[in-house]
Every structure is written in C-alpha cells, then in structure tokens.
C-alpha cells in the first residue's frame, strides 16, 4: 500500500468511537457428589488452561493462639503426597511445564496451576494429590515451619511489610483479620504437625471448595477429569477433627461487629533509625465485599487514590515530589476489610505528607466533593477498559473465583459496567461520609523517629504510641 503523510489535527484529542460489544465469559457449573463445585469457562484462544481450586477458608479461620496455621497448612500441601516427596511432586509438575502456586488470604486458600491444556487431566490428578492426600509428615513440617520462622525474621527488614503487619494489628486487634496469614513467631513455635493435620481434615473440604477451569478445555471434559481426580475427596466417612474444638465455618463467618468498637489509636510509630523514607499507613476498618455501596466505593476510591490520576497520588507525587507513588484502597473481604492509604515518603516530608493525606481523606467527604469531571474520569477508567480483564485464562479464572468467594451472581460481569455508570456525585459524597470517618483514622509511621518525632508532635494527633518492631 502507498502511504501518504498528511497533517494531523493536534488542536484536540481524538474522541474514542463507540464501544464494541463484548460477550462476557459464560460460566458452566456442575457439582460433584462430595459438594465440590466444578465451574468452567471455555476460552480456547491459546492451548493453555488455568486451574484454580478455591477453598473458602483462609487465615481468618486460624484458631485462637494459632495464627499462621491455615497458611502453613496451605504451604504443606505440596510437600509430598503418599510416598512421594515435595521434590517428586514438583518434578512431576515441571515435567509438564506446569506453573503451580499456593496462595492464602484472610478468606480463602487458592491452589492454582497454569498448564498446557493437553495436560489438564494429569495436572488435576496432581492437584488432587496435594490438596486431598497431602503427606503432612512431621519431618517436612519441621522444615517448613523453620523456613517460615526465617521468613518472619526477614520480614522485619522490609519496612512496607512491617507497616502492613503492624497496621492490621492496630486496626483489628485480636479479630480474625488482625494478623497476616503467615502468623506470628510465638504461634508458629508452638504449632505441631498434628495441628496441621487437624486443620487440613476439618477445613479443607469439598463442600467449601470450588474448582475453576478456564481455557482450551470443554466443560464435560473438565467434569470428567475432576471426578477422576477428586471423586474420592469426601470427608463424611472420615472422622472430622476440629482445631481447638471449634467449628471452622463459624470462625470464618464472624459477624461484622466483632471488630472492636473502642477508640482507635490515632498515631503510632515504629522506629527505623536512619531510614531514608517513612512508610505510612492511614486507615480504619471499613466495609465487607457484600456492601450495596460496592460500585460507588470503587469509583470514589479511584478518584481519591485508586489510580495514577487520583487526588492523593497527584498531591503527594506529582505536586510535592514526596514519593514514588501513593494509593488508597478499600480491601473488600467477606467481613469488613480495611480502608488503607499507603505511601513511602522521604523522611523529611513525613509530617507534611500525613497532613496532606488526612486533608484529602477529609475533603472528599464534603469540603471538596468529587466533581462531575472526576466522576466521569473515575467511572470511565473502570468501565471502558473492562473487557481487558477477560483476555487471558488466568484473568478469567481469577474473576470467576471472585464470584465463588463472595457469592456473586452469574451475571455479575455483565452487570458491572451499568452498575458503575449509575453512580452519581451525590453517591460519592454519601459513601465517603458513610464509610470513611476521619475521627476513626489510625496513622502508622515506620521511619526515622529521631528525625521526625518533633514534626509528628505538631500534627494534632496526640502523643504517638511507640510500637516495638518485633511486637507482632
């Protein structure tokens, strides 16, 4: 073809054309006799399959005094099965080119594998081996526990990790969300392989699990392979062991008001002498995923601190140059999750960064409400590119997993864009007033307290509570 360079109109930006229609993935669902859900999406673009086993039981189900039990149990799954060692299992996976991962959050354990789709049946077999029939041997437990104790030790070196863990504790105390999944050194030291075996038997069950398969694999095949692999996963015949004599379902479903209602710490500090930056966390316990305000909160957060072009990032990074980046998030979970502003700022700017952050969190509630331009931008950022979340098998599987974890309807994806588009500027003010309370905010600083202590004193947040770095 012949190309001809013509002058282009640079006086204005080109307007995007009409949006293309997009068919959201259709989810097919079956349930095995054991209660295991088998959900699939046919996505044949590339000969790959993403397999995720969601167990709706996570670190929030750790029994009292055993913080970290769910996580170490999840970590132990791939440490061998039957008479095969961890190495044997991983060699079998590697020989298929499969990528295996175990992930744990407050509400769930997820065991996932990405593989070439021609190996779907074999990979499911290996996943069943580790999830249903893990060896959970004493010797392996001792080694894995030791590695996790070393990891905890190393986390003390990482300012952002120190801040994250301490902040959860400040916000939630002894509530099931008050600890990071990895747990604490004290609890891990007391833990035994028996604890792990008991937790596995009682918490990792087909009735609270969903197998999600997305890729170049038909639903009927997925179900057939799942039956072959997981068909004998049924704890009804086995004696149910209960950690600490409590039922894990009730642990996983603490009510909202379990979160302490007492007055929060306004300002807390953890000393990190000579640190060039301060890690800041500002927030409070907010809302569960089930809130009817979910879509409005997403838009509100996009405006506040959820994207590059947000008030908090523009202020702290693009105007002040205090940081490489700042962001806010409502972390939606089954129970009320935290709202957190997080940022690392140069030491000298610590107090001013806190002041500016608190001002932004307060202003959006009314003094400087979201404008219609901000609303339009925040809304468009969430809706116009929505289709890109459904490009790869892994993305789709993660999306579908949200439906299973939070009891969302099958038409959730299709309903998302219209729901966001219904949000108004009044909604933004309303949900910010309702779910973001400046009086309840806790500010945590991990930094060079000798250098910034005096500035912090002028913040009007009361005397800072000093936390030792290894207190959690």
């Amino acid at each position: 073809m012949t190309l001809r360079s013509v002058a282009v109109d640079r006086s204005r930006l080109p307007e995007p054309g009409p949006s293309k229609t997009f068919a959201f993935p259709a989810i097919r669902k079956s349930t095995l006799d054991s209660g295991l859900g088998v959900w699939s999406v046919y996505h044949p673009q590339v000969p790959v399959v993403s397999l995720m086993l969601l167990v709706r039981c996570g670190a929030a189900a750790d029994p009292p005094g055993k913080d970290g039990l769910a996580a170490i149990t999840a970590d132990m799954l791939d440490e061998g099965s039957g008479d095969r060692s961890a190495i044997d299992i991983h060699e079998a996976l590697a020989n298929l080119g499969a990528q295996f991962d175990t992930d744990i959050g407050s509400d769930a354990i997820v065991v996932s594998t990405t593989a070439l789709s021609r190996f779907t049946d074999r990979v499911l077999g290996l996943m069943a081996d580790v999830v249903v029939r893990p060896a959970l041997r004493d010797g392996d437990f001792a080694r894995v526990r030791q590695l996790r104790l070393h990891r905890l030790m190393q986390l003390r070196d990482i300012p952002s990790a120190v801040a994250d863990r301490a902040f959860l504790k400040l916000l939630y105390g002894t509530h099931p969300y008050g600890h990071a999944p990895i747990g604490s050194e004290a609890a891990l030291r007391e833990m035994t392989a028996d604890d792990v075996r008991a937790f596995h038997a009682s918490a990792i069950r087909p009735s609270v699990s969903t197998l999600i398969a997305v890729g170049d694999c038909a639903h009927d095949d997925v179900v057939r392979f799942a039956k072959a692999a997981f068909g004998d996963w049924d704890v009804n015949g086995a004696r149910r062991l209960q950690p600490s004599g409590e039922d894990t379902d009730s642990l996983a479903l603490h009510s909202e008001d379990a979160v302490s209602a007492s007055l929060p710490t306004r300002l807390a500090v953890i000393a990190r002498p000579r640190a060039p930056q301060s890690e800041l966390r500002i927030g409070h316990v907010a809302v569960p995923r089930s809130t009817p305000d979910y879509h409005a909160l997403l838009v509100a957060n996009a405006i506040l601190g959820g994207q590059f072009v947000s008030r908090v990032n523009l202020k702290l990074r693009e105007e002040k140059g205090f940081t490489y980046g700042a962001r806010t998030a409502f972390e939606f979970r089954r129970m009320p999750g935290p709202f957190v502003l997080q940022v690392g700022v140069q030491t000298a700017a610590t107090a001013e960064a806190i002041q500016e952050s608190l001002r932004e969190l307060s202003d959006i509630r009314g003094d400087r409400p979201a404008t219609s331009a901000e609303l339009a931008l925040g809304m468009a950022a969430l809706t116009r590119g929505y289709a890109r979340n459904f490009e790869t098998a892994d993305q789709i599987a993660r999306g579908v997993m949200q439906l299973a974890l939070y009891d969302l309807p099958d038409d959730y994806f299709a309903a998302f864009v219209p729901a966001v588009e219904r949000v108004t500027v009044d909604d933004i003010s309303r949900v910010m007033q309702h779910h973001l309370d400046p009086a309840r905010l806790t500010t945590l600083v991990v930094g060079d307290i000798d250098a910034i202590g005096q500035d912090l004193g002028r913040l009007n947040l009361g005397a800072p509570v000093t936390l030792p770095a290894d207190s959690f």
């Binding site: 360079s5 282009v8 080694r143 070393h150 072009v309 490489y324 289709a387």
Partner: protein, 434 residues
C-alpha cells in the same frame, strides 16, 4: 508455534509492526526507543530513566498529565527503562487506538516545548524517592549496584545501575535533557508495535498519519564495550538485614549469543524451583539456606549470571559458597542428566506458549515483537528463539557451565548485618556503593 505479524518502515525510519488478534476488543500500543542507561556516560548516570518520567508530564499539544485522557478512555499504561532500551505502552479499548497514537506521537514529536524546569525538578524528586524505596530502604537493595560495579569496569556502560547515582541525578541540567531527547527520541531510533483488535492495513494508515511527519534525528551510534574478569573479586557490604546473603556473579555471553540459552537452562536447573539441584541440597536436605535462586541476565552487549542464597540462622556464607561451587563443578564435569534436559525443553516450550496469551503490557506479544525487532532486527525471531532452547544438549550445557561459571573468575558479594563483617566469606573487602 508462531507469532504472526507484518512489518513496515516509514519514510522517517520508524519501524511499525502489526499483529492482529481479534479475540478481545483491545489494542496494545508498544513503543520502544533504543536507548537505555548504557547510552549514558560516567558522571551523568540515571538520565535515561529520569527521562522516561518526563515523558509522562505532557507535550506541546497536550500540556497536561499523560495519564488522564488515556485512563479516561479505559487504558492502562506504563513505561520502563533498562540498560538497553526504554519502552512505553498503552493497552486501550480498540475504539481508542487513535487517541493512544495521538498521545505517543505528540510526545515523540513535540515534547521539548512543554518541558519546564518545574516538571523536571518535580520528577527528579520522584526518582530520588523511587531510588530510596527500591534500593536504599530495601534490604539487600544495594547488592545489584555493587555487583554491576565489580563485574564491569568504570568505563563500561553496564558498570552503573539504571536508576543512577544520587549525585549525578542532582547535578542534571535541563539543557542536557533537551540534547538527550534530540539524540535518541525520534522515529529512526524507535520501533512501534500494535497488537490486538486491529485491521493491519487500516492501523498502518493511522500510524503513518500520526508518526509519518515527525522528523528523524541522527542515527545513534552503537555502543560497544568489553569486560573481563581476570580473577576473583570478593566484596562485603553491610546492610540492615537479619540474615546474611551470598551473591556469586560471572560475566557471560550476551543476549542471543552462543551459550546464552545454555546458561538460562543451567541457572534454572542449578537454583530455580524445588526441582533444582541447589534447592534440594541447600534448602531441602542440608537446610543451611533459606532460599536460593539464579538467573542469566542477558543484555545487548554483554551479560552476567548471578546466583543468590541466604544463609539460615547460625550458618555461614562460607558453607554456602563451598556447597554452591561443588554443585557447579559437578555440572561442569558431568553435565546435566537427560531428565533435566528434557524438563528444560518442556518448560521452555510451555513458557513460549504462555507468552502468547496477552497482547500488551510488559512481556506481552507487542513487547516481544519490539524486543526481537530492536535487538535482532527481526520480529520473526520468536520461533527461532524457542529453537535455541530446543538446541541445548547435555554437552552444550556442560561446556557453557564449565567455561562461563568459572570458579576463578567471579564476583562474590556477601551482604551481612550491620557490624557483622565476620559473617562474610573470607578475604572480602568492603564494597563502595552510592
């Protein structure tokens, strides 16, 4: 397995690569400038990366932030700089392709009129904070700088880290920024790749409309430099860490050169994942390390292999060093097993399939096409790249390890907790990093 495309070169020298994938209504716009920190000079480091930041601060016809219109159209976007190249990308709904091309072409053609002292000094502060966050305030964060400085001589452009030296960043003047832009940011030093929901002919016409009239600048000189290690360099660095960590590094063949693929697979079988020899020995059996990993870091005019292991409490780095060298010597003497070669082959094939899953972002199809085009001059290299891994044999891998992971020509770096020089491997001298 192929990654189909068409390639055109506009009159001003801009390479344009087009890949159709209509599965999802999105397009990846990916633009590489063949400039990175290896184009910098000593005393002026950190420049290419600082410049990347300035590219998001507005251009003549849109002198506002770069993010706003694109996010408002539903895009995600980012950029990155390494030693060899700078890339910028947007993934947009396909109805907003023209907007992305408008924005990318405006900052290619018309950046300087909008570049003010205020923007410049703001982004310098941001970069200094990026450096604090990712290097200075991060445990073991200065190790990579110490290794590069020891592996490559001071006049070699891989001697310094892409983020740059603090003093250099503080000394940069705005006129240097202008000169840098004119020299490297122009069509003849760039490669544009579009992947996704496009019609290739239509897309090419729109690309030409936006980029075709931008004047080409001077051809950038190829950077050449060489490095060699005549002996062992043994360094120690204190850091705010609980556990000491050992780094071993060697100079190795450059990206795509003979031995590069062998060392990719060799580092995997030595130290990556639970199937690797060193994981089995150090972490699983002997339990003297908490973690181990390795990589062949392939770059355009050179490379280095790196192996890292953290000591378990009470264990010494000398113990780790001894065990690691034994395992390397074993591969150098006997080569890998047939099973290891077969596993490496299967994993390579799977990796290449996984790489076909997404059109955009870092490592997506658009990014890969540009990588092959910029470094090899041929976007079609995807297929031959996989062949490199299939061609690895027990003998070739053994020879590469024997030749390049030479125990007598390496850099050994101990990172130890503050004040604990006694935990370093013997005969180490303090490293100096910025």
């Amino acid at each position: 397995m192929t990654l189909s495309f068409t390639k055109h070169t506009l009159g001003n020298g801009l390479d344009v690569i087009l890949h159709e994938d209509r599965a999802c209504p999105i397009v990846a716009v990916n633009l590489w400038y063949h400039v990175g920190s290896k184009n910098e000079r000593p005393g002026h480091t950190g420049f290419a990366h600082l410049f990347e930041h300035l590219m998001f601060e507005g251009s003549q016809h849109h002198d506002h932030g770069y993010f706003q219109p694109l996010q408002g159209a539903g895009a995600t976007l980012n950029g990155s700089t390494n030693a060899d190249r700078t890339n910028y990308w947007e993934v947009v709904p396909s109805n907003a392709l023209e907007l992305a091309l408008w924005m990318e072409s405006d900052r290619m053609g018309y950046l300087l009129p909008a570049l003010t002292e205020a923007k410049f000094s703001n982004q310098r502060d941001v970069v200094l904070n990026e450096r604090r966050q990712n290097y200075e305030n991060r445990p073991y964060g200065l190790a990579s700088m110490a290794l590069l400085a020891a592996l490559f001589p001071p006049d070699h452009p891989y001697h310094w880290a892409t983020i740059g030296e603090v003093a250099d960043l503080q000394a940069v003047q705005l006129d240097e920024v202008h000169a840098f832009f004119r020299r490297y940011y122009h069509p003849a030093n760039a490669s544009l790749s579009l992947a996704g929901d496009i019609d290739a002919d239509d897309a090419l016409a729109v690309v030409d409309q936006y980029f075709g009239s931008i004047e080409p600048g001077p051809r950038a000189d190829r950077v050449s430099a060489s490095a060699s290690l005549a002996s062992n360099v043994r360094l120690v660095l204190e850091d705010r860490v609980e556990l000491p960590r050992l780094y071993l590094a060697w100079l190795t063949p450059a990206m795509f050169a003979e031995g590069d693929a062998d060392l990719d697979l060799a580092t995997d079988l030595l130290a990556n994942g639970k199937t690797s020899r060193l994981y089995k020995r150090l972490v699983f059996d002997e339990r003297i390390a908490t973690d181990v990993s390795a990589s062949q870091n392939s770059r355009e005019i050179g490379a280095f292999a790196q192996l890292t292991a953290t000591a378990a409490p009470g264990r010494t780095l000398a113990e780790l060093e001894r065990a690691i060298l034994e395992e390397i010597a074993r591969v150098a003497a006997d080569g890998p097993t047939d099973a290891e070669i077969e596993r490496g082959r299967v994993q390579a094939e799977a990796q290449f399939v996984y790489r076909l899953q997404t059109v955009g972002g870092f490592g997506g199809k658009s990014d890969q096409l540009n990588a092959y085009n910029v470094f090899i001059g041929d976007p079609a290299y995807f297929d031959r790249d996989l062949e490199r891994y299939h061609a690895v044999t027990r003998a070739s891998l053994q020879q590469a390890v024997a030749r390049f992971l030479n125990p007598d020509r390496r850099v050994t770096l101990s990172i130890v907790p503050d004040g604990r020089f006694d935990l370093a491997v013997p005969d180490s001298t303090p490293a100096v990093v910025g």
